[in-house]
Each structure stands twice: as C-alpha cells, then as structure tokens.
C-alpha cells in the first residue's frame, strides 16, 4: 500500500505517514487534529465532512487521502483570513443559521464553494446545491438566508 507523507492543507504543508486508502476525514481529524470537519454518516450522505479540494466541495469521509495528496485542501479552520471571518461564516453568525452546529462546518464549506461559482443565486438554487447536506435541527431556511446574505456581501466587496 503506497504511503502518503505530505498534504497541503489550508496553505500549510503538513507531514503525515498514512496509507493512501485511509479516509481523508480520518487523517484530518485523528492524525492532524483538524477537527472542524465532522463525521456524520461515513457514506457521503450528510455532508458534515465536506472540505474543498482545489476549491471543489468533496465528502472527506469517502475520499481516500491518496486522492487528495496532490490537491489543495481547505477545511473550515482555513476559511477565515487574518482573523477575518469568511462572509459565509459571518452570515451564519448574523442569521443564527445553526442550533447544535454539528452540520455547520459542512454547510459553510459547501456554501463557500457554491458562491465561488455563483454570486447571484436564487434561494432554490442554494437549496438545490446544498441538498446533500443534512441539518437535523432543521435550520435549512436560515442556512439559505445566510448563503444569500453572504452572496450579497461578497458581491459588494467584489464591486
């Protein structure tokens, strides 16, 4: 089994020594103590483990670390820059788009990836893109509202 010895996470090089078929989520959480990404189902059904690989949202629980070794990995811990929250993080806070907040990491990562491609989304577009993310507390409407608010904020910055 090939070993993976290096990962590029949140713009930092991390040394590891793991089998290439280890789940990326497990490497992030257990080996590197980056616990922002969560385990929810282990089969890519809930989205709590979502991270960005080269900017695209991926389920880290069913992604083998070998498949991420050559990519730029972004986790929730790497989203804020210089202590400034990402607009999606700020919007989740402003709207109160969580209750227990266990799904929040995956929701924010999925939304951040979505907004990279579309700064003018409609509410149904947001909901459709995020269909694979589960919030058992049922804060879905607030999450949609937060993503729309973040889109607005990002558009204003871009202007």
């Amino acid at each position: 089994m090939p070993r993976i010895t290096e990962l590029q996470i949140n713009e930092t090089r991390h040394s590891v020594d793991v089998d290439a078929d280890t789940s990326l989520l497990s490497v992030l959480r257990d080996h590197l103590d980056l616990t922002g990404s969560k385990y929810g189902c282990g089969e890519g059904q809930c989205g709590a483990c979502t991270v960005l690989l080269d900017g695209l949202p991926r389920r880290s629980c069913i992604t083998k670390v070998g498949a991420a070794a050559s990519k730029k990995i972004t986790t929730l811990e790497g989203l804020a820059t210089d202590g400034h929250l990402h607009p999606v993080q700020q919007a989740f806070l402003d709207v109160g788009a969580f209750q227990c907040a266990y799904c929040t990491s995956g929701m924010i990562m999925t939304a951040a990836a979505f907004l990279k491609a579309n700064l003018n989304p409609s509410a149904p577009e947001v909901a459709q893109f995020m269909e694979g993310n589960v919030c058992r507390c049922g804060t879905y409407s607030r999450i949609v509202a937060a993503v729309l608010q973040a889109a607005k904020a990002m558009k204003e910055v871009a202007r």
Binding site: Y39, C41, Q45, F98, C100, A101, R136
Partner: protein, 718 residues
C-alpha cells in the same frame, strides 16, 4: 362533570426504557458487583411529572436537593468575570445563551461577562438531566434566584464598605453605584475573589418580564463564533495525550449472546489490545483504521431467539399488553362514553399507528475515557451527565465520587442521548488498555444500538352532534406513551387510557415524547368529526374549546396563515391542528400539494403560533419552532425504522430518509408573548402540531385520510 379537565393530562408517568437492561455485566469483580447492586436487578422507580420523563437503564435519584448556597451556582472573579454552574447541557436548544441572559438580567451584568460551566459532574450541582423542556421553567428561575441573592450580597458589601444606607445604592453593568456621592465599585473589587457567602432565600422577587432588559431580547448564541470557525470541541473532537481509538464487536442481532469467538488474528496485530469481558468484545488501537481492521478480523458466533419484525409490529403491540388497568395506568374517565355515543348524531371509530423512528443526531454517540489513579474521567455527549456518571460507577463497581463526566456542547440529541452505553464501552476499553480511549459510534451503530421513539397503536372513538358539539371521546394508546394523551377540548364523556406493552425494540425518549403520536391521533380524529358534521375544522375546534390560551394560538396561526381566505384547488389542501404540552400552547396550519399521478406529497407552507409565557429569546425561540416543524416532517411523512428478527434493515442515512432542504416549506412563526405568565420550555412542543396539520391537509387535498405515521413514505398511493 365537564370542562374542568386539567391539561395536559398525564395518566401515567412516561416509561421510556421499557425494554432496556444494563448495557453490560462486566465479569471482573463479580462479587463486588453483586454486593453493590444486589444481583444487578434493574429497578425502575415511578417518579412524578418531569422526573418520570427521564429515561435510562438506572435511575439515579437519591433525592438530591438543589444547593442553596449562592456559591454553588455562581462565582464572581476579581476581574468581574462571572462563572455560572449548571448541570444542564447544551445540544442546540440554545440554553447556554438563554441561561446567561437570565443571570445577566438579575445580576445586572453584561451577558458577555458570563461564562457558563455546564454538565460537568465535578463542578456543577447535581441535575437530573436536560429533558422534558424543564430548563426554562426550572433551571432559569433557580439561576435567577441565585443571581438575585448575589446582588443582594453585593449591595450589602458596598453599603458596609462605604458606611451608607444600602437602600440608597443601585446596581448596573457589573458595579454598585451610590448616586448621591457618585461613587461606584465593580463587583469584582468588592468581592476580591472571595465566594459570595449568602444562601438563596425561598422567596426573592425576580425582575418581572415587563422590566426585562437582557431577557426578552434576541441575544445571539454566546459562543457562536467557536462553531463557525471549528474551534469548538464536541465530545467526538476531544483528544488526549497517548489516546487510543476503540471499536466494539457488535452482536449479529439484538438480545444475542456470544457462543464462540476467535480473536487470535487481532491479538497478533502490533499495538492492538483486545478486550473480552462476558459478551463484550472490543479493541483499542493507535488509529481508527487499525481498530476497525482488528475487529473485522474477529470471528464470532452469536445465538439469539427469533424476534418480531416491523411487518407484525402493530399486531405485536396489541397482543402484548402488560400492566394496563393497574394503579399506574388507571384510565381517565369522565361521564359515560357509552351514553355520550348513544346521544351522538355521528360516530367515528378509527385506529392510528406510529412507527419507531430514530433520533439520528448528526453527532453520533461519542466518548473519551481516561483512568487515572483508580478514578475515571469521561467526556461524552449525553443529556444526563449525572445519570451517566451513575451508570459508569455501577458498571465498574467504583464509588460515584471516583467518576467525572464532562459534556461538551453536543451535536444534538432530541431525547436520544439519555444513556451512557458509549461512555461505558470507552471506559471498559481504556481500563484494559491502560491508556485513554476514544470511541465514536458509526452512524450504523447509532441507528442500531441506541434506542428509538416508541411505536404505538391508538384506538379512538368519537361522537358528535350535528351542531358540532362533541358528546363522547374514547382514546386508547398502546405503547407509545401517555404524554399529551388528554384532550384539551371540552367533552362531557371521556375515557382515556394508556396501555403499556412489550416492545420489540429498545425504546426511549424523543423530542415531544408521545405527544406527537397522541396529537396526531387526536387532531386527525377532530378533523374526521368536523368533516362528518361539515363544519370548518378551525370553527369546530374553537366551538369545543374553553381554554383561552389554546384558542389564542389557534386564532393567531389561522390569521398568519390566512386560513379564512384559503382557496382549494385541485391537489392543494389545507389543515390545522394544535394542542397543549409541557406548558406550551401550539397551533399549526399547513398547506400541501399532492400530485395524484406521481403520488408526491409536498408541504408548501406552514404557519405555527406558539405561546410559552414570557419569551426569553425571541430569535432563539423562532429557531426552535422552525426546526421543530422541519424535524416533524420526517416523522410525519417518511421516517420509519424497519426491522426483522433482531436486526435493523435501514440503519444508514442512505436508507433512512431524513428531511432535507427540498422538503422544507415556507415556515411562518407567530410568537404569542405573554409577559404576564411564567416562561415554559419550547424545545419540544412546537413539533406536535405538524403531523396532524399535514395529514388533515392531505385529506383536504385528496380525500385520502392517512392514519399511520409516517403517512407517505413512498408518496400517496392512488
């Protein structure tokens, strides 16, 4: 007699672990175990009201009194930082914030200066657990009284320090002020780090809701930033130096015992510890992957007796009644149902059923256990830190003061995390491994080895006059529970009874308890009666209702929903339902669309009015009401546990459908704020109106009456 029925009526205290036995009988120290527990018999106590809503294999209730010393509840540091101690736990219901608001209000400090220490059995006063919507009506006043007594003490100290009359002093934002001399001193400087030597008086006037400045406002979640940045450590995120990862060998089915096993391969693995103790087999290893490989290598044979399947569930429940008619389950009877039915112009006899459903908290059970000098520390997500502490002490035959349970804010629970199985397993592994062990249940384990919301059968008879007055009401609930079983309507002849039965699956608490099932049956049947006499469902309810608070929420929901202006169109229907539970008053209106060709049912919009006395945090409350409605969609339309012969057949998220973005309707919330009434809890009751409102709307849309929850797991069959 009519009209005087106290609502909610509880005929018998809820029993929420009908089928549970202690999670493990460990073999070591067997004699000590027998000595301590008298053979390990499970003793289930009947406790009144809130206490009885607790679940758990062992009820640890030694009549613990709430401490009266202010210092047990709060401490003010020299820098003015306020630390508050409560055994309650945060799992998304937002009490870390609402309780901080309560203390800030009475102590007159900024909420930001408050740090809440929650659910730590070494640091916080004993607490039965966080369930039954009890935090707001009981813990909040307790902390407010403590804070008020603390302020009293601070005023005394300042008066003494300045040699003035304390009645001339006032308090605000963390300091005592003498307006006459323009002197002021901060709380921290007055106390100089000393504890507040004051006890909480029995009667202490609290700030009335009409004068609240911090309570009653939408203070954002106090530690929200930690969640959006990933800084917060859930129990499953806790990591200790030298920690190993655990994995438990699961039986092939429920109630199975180990007949033979072979762990040689696992034992030969480097750095893997294999633990075998009775029917418990598990491993501890330096990584999750190694632990998984080790357990997968174990060959085991289990034996078990045949068990019922979900196909035969409702028949099983009806045929396995145990203990009805006893003192605990005596029916509630008013007048004579027989005579009431004889007088009725129309009668209706129907049966309703509810399936087992799984809480599916997004964070599955998780625990990190560490033994040090014979003492055990466990970090775990549970609603009953003190209950789990008792379970651990019993499992390992050690004194309770050798066990510490800490509950980090938890990735939800919904009544599903009352028990300590995962904590016990982690601790058992750690004990043999000689190192701290983390155990995180897989989703499949959470679906299989936790417990379920009880399934049930409800049989209902109703009689109604053509003028719309209900003459008789007979209600029998088999197994699902007594919560919310009474009727708030003014009916002269009633017979209401809960029948406990055997349960094929392990069952326990769930958000809203049995009130969801009982409200579904009652409010569906109300609709059936209204339909028989051709009266508008809202008008029919109001006609039979004397309770002003319930009337008010019905009217508020109907107004927001524009009930009076609703217009039926093909495939679109409207429904209404409501009730009273745990001190909260709820009414929900729903609009559904039904596609008769595809059978697809979609909830278009929902309006819920909720009244729980004086509102503590309006936005937090709205969030709960919205969330309860969304959670309710699952149980109403598609969630059901399928099982066969001791196995769960759909123990995966890909096989067990939970509500997602596309299932969510437009949700309008009306808060009926009653500042003249004490605040009640709100985490559960807003859920109970959704299923019957949706069922009634489906009937309105299609003419099809659905009497089983979930109502449309595969859409509406033509």
């Amino acid at each position: 007699m009519s009209g005087k029925l106290p609502v909610p009526l509880v005929i018998e205290p809820e029993r929420y672990e009908f089928n549970s036995s202690p999670a493990y009988h460990f073999e070591f120290d067997r004699r000590a175990f027998l000595k301590t527990l008298g053979g390990g018999l499970l003793v289930v106590c009947v406790m009144p009201s809130a206490g009885a809503q607790e679940s758990g294999a062992r009820r640890i209730n030694r009549g613990e009194q709430l401490p009266t010393a202010v210092s047990s509840w709060l401490h003010i540091g020299e820098n003015g930082a306020v630390t508050v101690f409560t055994g309650k736990v945060e799992m998304g219901q937002n009490i870390r914030t609402s309780l901080a608001q309560a203390v800030a209000e009475e102590l007159r400090v900024a909420p930001e200066s408050i740090h809440m220490v929650m659910g730590d059995t070494d640091l916080t006063p004993f607490d039965m657990g966080t369930f039954g919507s009890r935090t707001t009506p009981t813990m909040s006043p307790e902390l407010r009284k403590a804070a008020s007594a603390a302020l009293d003490s601070l005023l005394d100290l300042a008066a003494k320090e300045w040699g003035t009359d304390r009645s001339k002093l006032s308090a605000g934002t963390g300091m005592i002020v003498d307006p006459a001399s323009r002197r002021s001193i901060e709380y921290g400087q007055l106390l100089k780090g000393k504890e507040i030597a004051q006890t909480i008086p029995a009667e202490d006037p609290l700030v009335p809701a009409t004068e609240w400045k911090v309570m009653g406002t939408s203070l954002p979640k106090v530690d929200g930033r930690d969640f959006v940045t990933g800084k917060h450590k859930f129990a499953s995120d806790v990591k200790l130096p030298g920690m190993l990862y655990g994995k438990v060998l699961r039986p092939s089915s429920f109630e199975a015992s180990l007949s033979s096993f072979d762990t040689k391969t696992a034992e030969a693995m480097k750095d893997v510890t294999v633990i075998h103790d009775g029917d418990f087999v598990g491993v501890a290893a330096p990584s999750v992957e190694m632990a998984e490989r080790a357990v997968a290598s174990i060959r085991a044979e289990w034996k078990s007796a045949p068990q019922p399947s979900s196909r035969d569930l409702f028949q099983f429940l009806k045929q396995n009644v145990e203990g009805s008619g006893g003192e605990r389950n005596s029916p509630h009877v008013e007048g004579s149902v027989e005579k009431g039915l004889a007088k009725a112009d129309q009668k209706s006899v129907q049966t309703y059923t509810v399936a087992y459903i799984a809480h599916t908290p997004l964070e599955p059970r998780a625990a990190v256990a560490e033994w040090k000098d014979g003492k055990l520390s466990v970090w775990t997500g549970t609603q009953r830190p003190f209950g789990v502490k008792g379970e651990l002490a019993a499992a390992f035959h050690i004194p309770e003061d050798h066990v510490r349970v800490q509950v980090p804010d938890t990735g939800s629970a919904y009544g599903g995390k009352h028990t300590g199985e995962c904590a016990i397993e982690a601790a058992r592994l750690a004990r043999s491994a000689g190192r701290p062990v983390k155990l995180v249940w897989t989703r499949e384990e959470e679906f299989t080895w936790a417990y379920f919301r009880p399934a049930g059968v409800i049989e209902l008879k109703g009689g109604v006059n053509k003028d719309g007055m209900i003459t008789a009401w007979e209600f029998h609930n088999y197994n699902s529970g007594g919560s919310g079983i009474g009727t708030p309507y003014d009916i002269p002849n009633q017979h209401i009874e809960f029948h406990p039965t055997k349960s094929p699956l392990r069952q326990g608490s769930y958000r809203g308890l049995a009130a969801t099932a009982n409200h579904f049956a009652r409010e569906s049947h109300m609709d059936e009666l209204a339909s028989l006499v051709k009266i508008d469902p809202l008008e029919f309810r109001l006609k039979n209702l004397k309770d002003d608070r319930l009337k008010a929420v019905f009217q508020a929901a109907a107004e927001k929903f524009r009930w009076a202006e609703r217009k039926n169109s093909p495939g679109h229907g409207f429904g209404i339902a409501g009730g009273i539970e745990k001190g909260g008053y709820v009414a929900t209106c729903a609009e559904v669309s039904v596609d008769r060709s595809s059978g697809e049912v979609h909830i278009v919009r929902v309006a819920t009015a909720f009244e729980c006395g004086a509102v503590v945090n309006p936005d937090g409350l709205r969030n709960q009401i919205e969330g309860a409605n969304v959670m309710g969609i699952g149980g109403a339309l598609f969630e059901a546990i399928e099982f066969d012969n001791g196995r769960i057949l759909n123990a995966k998220l890909s096989k067990y459908r939970v509500p997602r973005f596309s299932d969510v309707p437009t949700i309008d919330v009306v808060l009926v704020d009653r500042k003249d009434l004490p605040s009640a809890g709100a985490g559960e009751t807003p859920l109970v109106g959704l299923a019957p409102a949706v069922g009634n709307a489906i009937f309105n849309a299609s003419g099809v009456r659905l009497r089983s929850l979930p109502m449309a797991p595969n859409g509406l069959k033509a």
